[in-house]
Amino acid sequence: MLEKIWDEHVVQAPADGPTILYIDLHLVHEVTSPQAFEGLRLAGRSVRRTERTIATPDHNVPTTDRSLPIADPISRKQIETLRANCSEFGVTLFDIGDVRQGIVHVIGPENGYTQPGMTIVCGDSHTATHGAFGSLAFGIGTSEVEHVLATQTLRQFKPKTFELNVDGELPRGVTAKDMILYLIGSLGTAGGTGYVLEYTGECVRAMTMEERMTVCNMSIEAGARAGMIAPDQTTFDYLRGLPQVPTAFDEAVERWKQLPSDPGAVYDRSNSYQGKDIAPQVTWGTNPGQVRSIDDQIPSPGDFSDATEQKSTSNALEYMDLKAGTPIHDIPIQRVFIGSCTNARIEDLRAAASVVRGHRVNSDVNAMVVPGSGKVKRQAEEEGLDRIFKESGFDWREAGCSMCLAMNPDKLAPGERCASTSNRNFEGRQGKGGRTHLVSPAMAAAAAVAGHFVDIRGWNFSE
């Protein structure tokens, strides 16, 4: 599949250097674009294809009352800069106040911009999300953002392919998030470097589009720039009727059906897994590969043979203030964050709501839900999910990245421990000194109620 998409997009392939690859869709946000637009301006260049470029502010936006001006003057300036750049260069902007505003990786798919067979880039490493539709989607740096704005192409070396096949079924209560955390745990945070991961197998085929996005989203956490899943009927059904899909939809479907790898296609590497082996996952360390099953214990440096790994483990345990041998169940938490481009779509919110319905957030816990986009928020409110969250003691917020990276006012205090549905547990990611444990939405919701991690497989769901 990678081969087919790649070949379709080659503008020029010199023998002695990177290929010039055409880019179909370029997503832009406020943090990684100002210097790129500035570069264009200094060189007197324009945006080559404004109709293939979509912008939205997400990283910096406050998730509280939107009628107030943004309190942080530097955040405000960055968002105003995006506004000014979009109007100067003629780029479509989904601004604060527009229901289409949201996390860039949520709004691309939900509006039908993201389609099978496309090349998609964004100055953001989680662009891998869009690969769930069978597109080649990857994150780029700001110099490359400028390159795409100016030329609608990128200079790229062709990556290798790595198949991750997960067969069988996931046990009840085990989600797409658990599956991808499990895979990252098995590959390590650099195991996918230089590859595009292609997820195959029965577990993947059985997933909804939103679940597939959760899986592809975290490909970068295994070091891979992109992850992809072959398009199928689930993909086409999801896309049908969305605002930006081709008007000749059935013809497009016929084209998209040609994309999946031919039977017997060879990958540069392949690994196989069984869905039944996967349990709900909780990260314990300071990178997403440091992850264990809920019924497991915190590891000790001595569990690893490699010296670098031992050192990373002891650094992580120190930062996380955890003792080797502690059962994961016993770790108390003070904060819960349900949100981010990994897990802030409607199905994620439904899953979390079904866990908290009829329960109260533990009195020691401060919990919040941040929908991935204005549309997700509206949908959730139509379904009454906001009421379930609010009644049980969650904060219900406006759309944005929020405490996934804590660039806006939503952050952890030093030493606070958080169950988070986001994708990175790096030191300080959610606030300096904050301690992040990555989990699925259902696991985060259950932890909010219990005040510590619990195995969702034994949860008492109330109607």
């Binding site: 250097g17 990177p18 943090v31 100055g123 490493s125 030329t151 609608q152 200079r155 050192k311 790096f426």
Partner: protein, 197 residues
Amino acid sequence: MQKFTVHSGIVATLDRANVDTDQIIPKQFLKRIERTGFGQFLFYDWRFQDDGTTPNPDFELNHPQVEGASILVARQNFGSGSSREHAVWALDDYGFRAVIAPSFADIFFNNCFKNGLLPIVLPEAQVEQIFQRAAEHAPYTLTVDLENHLVRDEDGLKLSFEVDASRRHNLLHGLDDIAQTLQHEEKISQYEAARSW
């Protein structure tokens, strides 16, 4: 873009694997809309104590022997995580010209070349050798010679490294990618005309 041909400088070592770009430049400093001025915030959470201004004496870059260092040596998977090019701008602005490690994360690796910062991949054993020499002879100086693909010191250490020919060419001549690609403008237009979306 600044050229890179041959550079000699003091080595700073960072004995950590998987150093992510969130550590290299924490998010609170990503709000600037310029490319410059990020060096002061490099490794901020490690470099400074909780007050944010007192240097943390335990952090490797704060050791007096590595003052003025321009070559950084670290462990595997350097630059993982977020795509933020600000990480490269911060290293560059601080004064680094080259980073040596057993492996790098993809996006970071690409970003380096766009800014005249040379990332060098050496086998783990050779990186270890540099770590040891740097520990024994601080301040330790290395010369990075891109023309001849060599890293060497004054005591006979000579390590060769590989770098893609086109990237090397661009670094040696300080060439800008966009201008180069725009030389193929006609091809891009032809491609656009031929595609039936």
